[in-house]
């Protein structure tokens, strides 16, 4: 992969002056298959500081946080703890070195009391018998420190997300963590809860704990962090003191197009193209509500938004995979489907977010995966005509340019890009009316990405209405005729191809304007910009 040279996005490593580095990464790289997650990242985190990692979806900030926490192993580069090189083979080893992680999905056991979660794996015991009195005393100490108000015997699963996060922090304290990696800790919280969490985090830092704060919420980052590192496409854009940054400057740093990607120019839908799929007042609280979407014949509608904004949930509801209220119309006729099976019969198909978990049966052959949704087309009276099946599979795989040594091989034997083409091909045996493509190029290499872009544009040119969801903003911008921006389960912006640019969409997605976080709540830092 060619290294990007010069320009304002060059990796400018600025060692932060002040106390010695608690952790330092040098030249860290990480790839997943052909896809780059991180490339040559170097940064220092000073003792007792709050160091924020920001960036778009897929910029690599969570990966970097996880590498520091020992949950992911880098392909290349060094991790230094207080100047000493370390290799963590497991989170357990990282914990022993005083590093803990608070994940996006909290790793708590919901069915046991709070206190057991706090001390899980680090039980204070005497000769194998847990010392309840010691644990209760320590628990009281932690609870006072971070303001946890429930009984230690409360079942963890019954607490609110905010309280569960406090449990996770107490658990880090019980591990005597000196460095805590927090991955999107405020994403699931209400304003008030988020504010309290930020306060707790500040207290931790004042008490000497180093915090790495991974977050989408730029206002939170600016209010909290001492130092901010901006990542873009797995590369480090800049590391700077937070007080020198504004939301504007951070967003600007995240902008900029990857040089490697070229988008085909989608042919505009023909003049006066009728509406293919229309949704009105689609709601499934709390994931999303009052969604109105029109997809015209031959139109690619991009659905942009941060991970967790409700994009995928909207797609699943349109496909009948999850129930939702509201009305749907297909080609002007009202549509009711409560199952994917019905949606497929109506010509609405979905390329799901995760091909491994939702798109393909990895153990089964390529042929079987391709013909799965339309098996009856190659069967008579329930018996599969295997010659016919092979022919159909071969034909449709050729049309998406998927390469396989043998179609009877398990689909797991293919590369990510070819797997994704198989996952797409299965919907093309019968021409669909509407294709919902959720993250169509996730985890595939650049060559396959380009091929998938061409395919999507080609399908639109045939009159198929396409709803494109992607965490890669430039993908949405590069392919869509129209972009809808989702934030907090609502559509907060709509841009035509001519007016959609990264900055506008990003601002809408991040809520850079006064309606940040779940729409309507007041902004924490009024003097930004």
């Amino acid at each position: 992969m060619p290294r990007r040279e010069g320009g304002d996005v060059a990796a400018a490593v600025q060692p932060v002056p002040g106390p010695a580095a608690h952790v330092e990464v040098r030249g860290i790289s990480k790839h997943y298959g052909g896809a780059r997650a991180l490339e040559d990242i170097s940064l220092q985190v000073s003792e007792g500081s709050i160091h924020a990692l920001v960036g778009e979806n897929g910029a690599g900030k969570s990966t970097l946080g996880k590498i520091i926490a020992g949950a992911i192993h880098p392909d290349a580069g060094d991790l230094l703890l207080r100047g000493r090189p370390v290799t963590f083979r497991s989170p357990r080893e990282a914990i022993r070195s005083g590093i803990a992680i608070m994940d996006q999905e909290l790793a708590l056991v919901p069915t046991v009391p709070v206190i057991d979660n706090v001390f899980m794996g680090v039980e204070r015991s005497r000769r194998g018998v847990v010392s309840q009195s010691v644990q209760r005393r320590l628990f009281a100490e932690y609870a006072a420190r971070i303001g946890f108000e429930h009984s230690p015997r409360t079942d963890t699963g019954r607490l609110s997300t905010a309280d569960q996060q406090k449990v996770a922090i107490m658990s880090a304290l019980a591990r005597e963590a000196e460095l805590i990696v927090m991955d999107e800790p405020t994403a699931a919280l209400t304003r008030r809860e988020a504010e309290r969490l930020l306060e707790t985090t500040r207290d931790l830092a004042r008490g000497g704990v180093t915090v790495i704060f991974v977050s989408h919420f730029l206002a939170d980052v600016l209010a909290l962090a001492d130092v901010v590192t901006v990542l873009k496409d797995g590369r480090l854009v800049k590391t700077a003191p937070a007080r020198e940054e504004t939301e504007e400057s951070l967003v600007t740093a995240m902008l900029g197009r990857s040089l490697e990607l070229v988008f085909p120019d989608p042919r505009p839908p023909r003049e006066g193209a009728p509406v293919r799929l229309s949704a009105r007042g689609l709601s499934r609280p709390p994931a999303f509500s009052d969604i109105d979407i029109d997809i015209h014949e031959g139109e690619i509608v991009g659905l942009a938004g941060l991970v967790g904004s409700g994009r995928t949930e909207i797609a699943r509801a349109l496909f009948g995979a999850d129930p939702a209220s509201g009305t749907l119309e297909l080609d002007g006729r009202p549509l009711r489907h409560r199952s994917p099976g019905r949606a497929i019969r109506n010509g609405i198909v979905m390329l799901p977010e995760s091909r491994k978990d939702q798109g393909l049966v990895m153990l089964r052959s390529i042929t079987e995966n391709v013909t799965m949704p339309h098996l009856s087309a190659v069967a008579s009276r329930g018996v599969v005509r295997r010659g016919e099946e092979r022919r159909v599979a071969q034909e449709v795989l050729a049309s998406v340019d998927a390469r396989a040594a043998s179609l009877s091989m398990p689909v797991s034997s293919l590369s990510g890009g070819n797997q994704q083409k198989v996952a797409l091909a299965k919907w093309l045996i019968r021409k669909p009316r509407v294709l919902i493509a959720d993250e169509p190029t996730r985890g595939v290499d650049v060559g396959a990405k380009r091929a998938i872009y061409e395919l999507l544009c080609g399908l639109a040119a045939e009159g198929i209405g396409i709803l494109l969801i992607s965490s890669e903003l430039e993908e949405v911008l590069g392919l869509s005729h129209r972009v809808l921006v989702v934030r907090g389960g609502r559509i907060v912006g709509q841009f035509d191809r001519s007016e959609a640019d990264e900055e506008r969409v990003m601002r809408a997605a991040f809520g850079g304007d006064p309606s940040r976080r779940n729409g309507g709540e007041e902004m924490r830092i009024p003097d930004v910009g």
Binding site: G33, V361, R364, L375, A379
Partner: protein, 340 residues
């Protein structure tokens, strides 16, 4: 995911253009070897046991002995074939043994009141109904299949005891015994039934849409659902089929002995389960085949037969069978880890 730099024989054989590379997993790795072994080790094992017994026992290679082995294995074999479907669909049915015993009891009871054939048929229908109930509870009630079929099995066994009041229900006359004791071309009806079921089940599994759905549901439930497959219907069908097969097995046993006897049938279903797993059908769903279960059955049955013929303590038989099951499941786990 796959390592793109891994050298691979198939890569060149497939005539790939350099534009889109197709990295394949290296089949020569440990996982490849394990997969190949997993595919054919069961066939090889049966052949080896067969040869060893041929040379170590005079009685083994006689049609009387071999037909006897088949007749003994027929009822549990029918259960095992149907259990293959349930396992491929990613579920488990531990009630099959109890349903078989229950069928025998119902058949014997009704044979004495209505008529022998009517009794057998109604018994099998009742068994199918119980299987259907299992399926509905599991697919629509969302109950774990192991727990659900354990509970239903216990209840069914209890009802069977209520019907028999703890006694054997004997059915006089030859008609009832026809299924279990009569022969066609020197081979028992029960063996013919097993053969017919093997052929039918193999055809359905490997050639029909329903067979494909079983694999899809067990291999990746969500992907199957999002492909428009009625996953609940597939599961319900698998359990109903398992109930039907248990009913047939129960009818054969009752007919063979001319009596109905209540019981939980746990040892029956565990033997069937062992045969399925030893054959190489995955306990985690999505992988397996009817022919595998046939070979699994043969292996376990031949080993049992051999121990009898060579007069080895039966307790060793259990130990050997246990070790074989463990080896089969370990091989499956190893190849899965490779595929993950």
């Amino acid at each position: 995911m796959s390592d793109e730099t891994t050298p691979s024989a198939q890569l060149t054989a497939g005539g790939e253009s350099p534009a889109v590379r197709l990295p394949l997993r290296d089949r020569r790795s440990l996982g490849g070897v394990v997969n190949a072994l997993r595919d054919y080790v069961i066939v090889l094992s049966v052949a080896v046991v067969f040869l060893v017994l041929t040379f170590s026992s005079d009685v083994f290679l006689t049609s009387t002995n071999l037909l006897n082995v088949l007749e003994q294995v027929a009822p549990v074999g029918i259960i095992a074939i149907a259990l293959t479907y349930v396992l491929i669909a990613g579920e488990f049915d531990i009630s099959a043994g109890a349903i078989a015993a229950f069928t025998g009891v119902v058949a014997a009871k009704l044979a004495n009141s209505i008529g022998p054939w009517e009794g057998l048929i109604l018994g099998v229908l009742a068994a199918t109904g119980i299987g259907l109930l299992n399926g509905l509870l599991i697919a629509y009630g969302g109950i774990n299949s192991f727990v659900c079929t354990l509970a239903v099995g216990l209840m069914v066994a209890g009802v069977a005891v209520l019907i028999t009041k703890g006694f054997l229900l004997t059915v006089p006359g030859d008609t009832f015994a026809t299924l279990g004791t009569s022969e066609l071309l020197g081979v028992k009806y029960s063996v013919w039934l097993l053969v017919a079921i093997v052929v039918l089940f193999a055809f359905v599994l490997h050639r029909t849409t329903f067979g494909r759905w079983l694999y899809a549901v067990g291999g990746n439930l969500e992907a199957a659902r999002l492909s428009g497959i009625n996953t609940k219907m597939v599961k319900v069908s698998a359990f109903a089929i398992s109930g039907l097969a248990a009913g047939l097995a129960g009818a054969i046993i009752a007919s063979r002995t001319s009596q109905g006897q209540a019981g939980d049938g746990i040892s029956t279903v565990l033997f069937a389960f062992a045969a399925v797993v030893v054959g190489g059908t995955s306990v985690q769903g999505g992988r397996g085949a009817v022919w595998r279960t046939v070979f699994g059955l043969l292996l376990l049955a031949l080993i049992g037969n051999g121990f009898n013929l060579l007069s080895v303590e039966p307790i060793y038989q259990q130990i050997v069978q246990g070790a074989i099951i463990l080896a089969a499941v370990a091989a499956d786990a190893l190849s899965r880890r490779q595929a993950a």
